[in-house]
């Protein structure tokens, strides 16, 4: 215990196991869940936590724990795809804007400003209303919401790199165009983007839950943390455990990814400042 560099790795050490557990839960749901999430056990509706059902059952007799575990699939997948969309789109836009500068920079960033000025939930709802409610569209909508954030970040990092001497040195030895971006700019953009991606992931999960809470995401009987919390609202006095497990899971997921983001920042940044 004494040999670990807590300052550098502490946050990672705490968050990584939780993140791994979450990913395992979604990948191996069928192995981990004690029950089939759709199985209606009419004998045990609205039962509190017991040895048979660790987190109780819901209004249709389904095991809350199993549903929570299966619901992680949706959250994780939506999170990953949405972040991938945001990261890729945002990086392309941000680096292009900074690389070309001038009119192109202005145009692209004003576009980003427009997107940015919408509150995320509102934008998500508008997009979903237009695209239709499905998980795929949820991924797309959330991904689009993330693009401006990544664009601003990558643009700023690119501008910093452009001021560095090694970029000018590269130009002087003959590196140009795509190769310049690929070799000199992108590797330096990578670090901050990964950190932002971890935090964006947690926000994506939250957004997806909000959308399905509003009825716009995963549709019943498919379990998602958001719609479970929503259903649980109606039973909050009689059976508070219905909301509790998914709420807890959501909290853990968002929290651990945020910490992961911080931990990654501690890991990646000091190297650059050496």
């Amino acid at each position: 215990m004494g040999r670990i560099n807590w300052r550098k790795y502490g946050l990672l050490i705490f968050s990584l196991p939780v993140v791994v557990i979450l990913f395992c839960a979604s990948a191996f749901s069928s192995l981990l869940a004690p029950y089939d999430p759709y199985y209606l056990d009419v004998m045990y509706m609205l039962e509190g936590p017991s040895s048979g059902h660790l987190f109780g059952t819901d209004e249709l007799g389904r095991d809350v724990l199993s549903r929570t575990i299966y619901a992680s699939q949706i959250s994780i997948v939506v999170g990953l795809i949405a972040v991938a969309i945001g990261m890729t789109g945002g990086t392309v836009i941000g680096v292009t804007a900074a690389y070309f500068g001038g009119l192109i920079d202005n145009l692209l960033m004003r576009l980003m400003d427009i997107l940015f000025s919408f509150p995320a939930i509102l934008l998500a709802v508008i997009l979903m209303a237009n695209l239709g409610t499905s998980i795929l569209n949820a991924m797309l909508a959330i991904g689009i919401i993330f693009i401006p954030g990544f664009a601003r970040l990558t643009r700023a990092v690119t501008q910093t790199v452009q001021r560095q001497q090694y970029l000018e040195a590269a130009i002087c030895i003959g590196v140009s165009g795509p190769r310049l971006i690929w070799r000199e700019i992108l590797p330096n953009v990578f670090g901050p983007v990964v950190v932002e991606a971890a935090v964006a992931f947690s926000y994506a999960v939250l957004l997806e839950s909000a959308l399905s809470f509003l009825g716009l995401g995963a549709q019943p009987p498919e379990p998602s943390w958001g719609n479970m919390i929503n259903t649980g609202r109606g039973f909050i006095e009689q059976a508070p455990w219905i909301s509790f497990a998914p709420g807890m899971a959501l909290f853990l997921c968002v929290f651990s990814f945020n910490i992961l983001g911080d931990g990654l920042r501690d890991l990646l940044d000091p190297k650059l400042n050496k």
Binding site: Q165, Y166, A169, I173, R179, K271
Partner: protein
């Protein structure tokens, strides 16, 4: 003449919050000639335009008017094919050893990039060529695998010289290459420049604020102030008998170290 400047000017517009500030004349009708194999010292204080001059020669910043000619070609008129070959023939060594290499790649990899981009050697021989270059600048070839932050300032500066040499340039543009280094390291790097120049017959433009360095390194000198040349000539003559007031002021400001009397 390898390099000629004819009335080169450059003005920077700075944009303040409430409209434009007064334009800054970074270069004001600069003219000089540099023959092959000669070394030219460009001396001035901050705001003199000496760094801007280098950047226009390197085509990192375009000049507004006047002509810069390299080996008979007007560098403003160059097409992209000419530019590529121009970049091989003219190489910089910059001041800051900290940011002169991409921190993500080993110095060997960055040097090898110079070789690859310009098809200097086939891929299989790149590592060997990098080793030779490092040895030429007095570095242990094993350092090729090091990341920039693992090297000292002096080592990094030598590595950046190796990178400049990789493409086989004829003209070296040195922008305060030793300002960020300790005195004893500076001496090593300056000696290295002299050795390399003798060996390869480089033409050198050496930009610095330090007159003593120019005295050591350069045959000829131009003194710049506010973008214009106030004096030029043979280094020894200018320092011994300066004509311009500003040159006299610069010389007077250099703190002289008393001579050593014991052997």
């Amino acid at each position: 003449m390898l390099l000629s400047a004819e009335s080169v000017s450059k003005t920077f517009q700075s944009h303040g919050l409430l409209g434009r500030h007064d334009p800054v004349k970074a270069l004001d009708r600069v003219s000089f000639d540099l023959a092959r194999g000669q070394s030219l010292g460009v001396v001035g204080e901050s705001g003199s335009g000496k760094s801007t001059l280098l950047r226009t020669i390197l085509k990192l910043t375009p000049h507004d008017s006047g002509t810069l000619t390299f080996d008979g070609m007007d560098i403003a008129e160059m097409r992209s094919a000419d530019i590529r070959s121009y970049r091989r023939r003219v190489q910089p060594v910059f001041q800051d050893p900290y940011s002169t290499f991409n921190p993500r790649f080993s110095v060997g990899s960055s040097i090898a990039l110079a070789l690859k981009i310009n098809d200097i050697v086939p891929h299989s021989q790149a590592a060997g060529a990098v080793s030779e270059l490092l040895i030429d600048v007095g570095l242990n070839p094993d350092l090729a695998a090091s990341l920039p932050h693992q090297l000292s300032g002096g080592q990094r500066q030598r590595a950046s010289i190796a990178r400049a040499l990789a493409v086989g340039p004829e003209l070296l543009l040195l922008d305060e290459p030793t300002s960020a280094l300790d005195m004893s390291i500076q001496a090593q790097v300056l000696n290295l420049f002299k050795t390399l120049q003798e060996k390869h017959n480089f033409t050198i433009v050496f930009v610095t604020h330090d007159l003593a360095l120019v005295s050591f390194m350069c045959d000829r000198i131009i003194v710049m102030k506010s973008g214009a040349i106030v004096e030029e000539g043979e280094t020894k003559k200018v320092i011994a008998d300066p004509q311009a007031d500003y040159t006299r002021m610069l010389i007077a400001a250099v703190p002289e170290i008393p001579d050593t009397t014991t052997p």
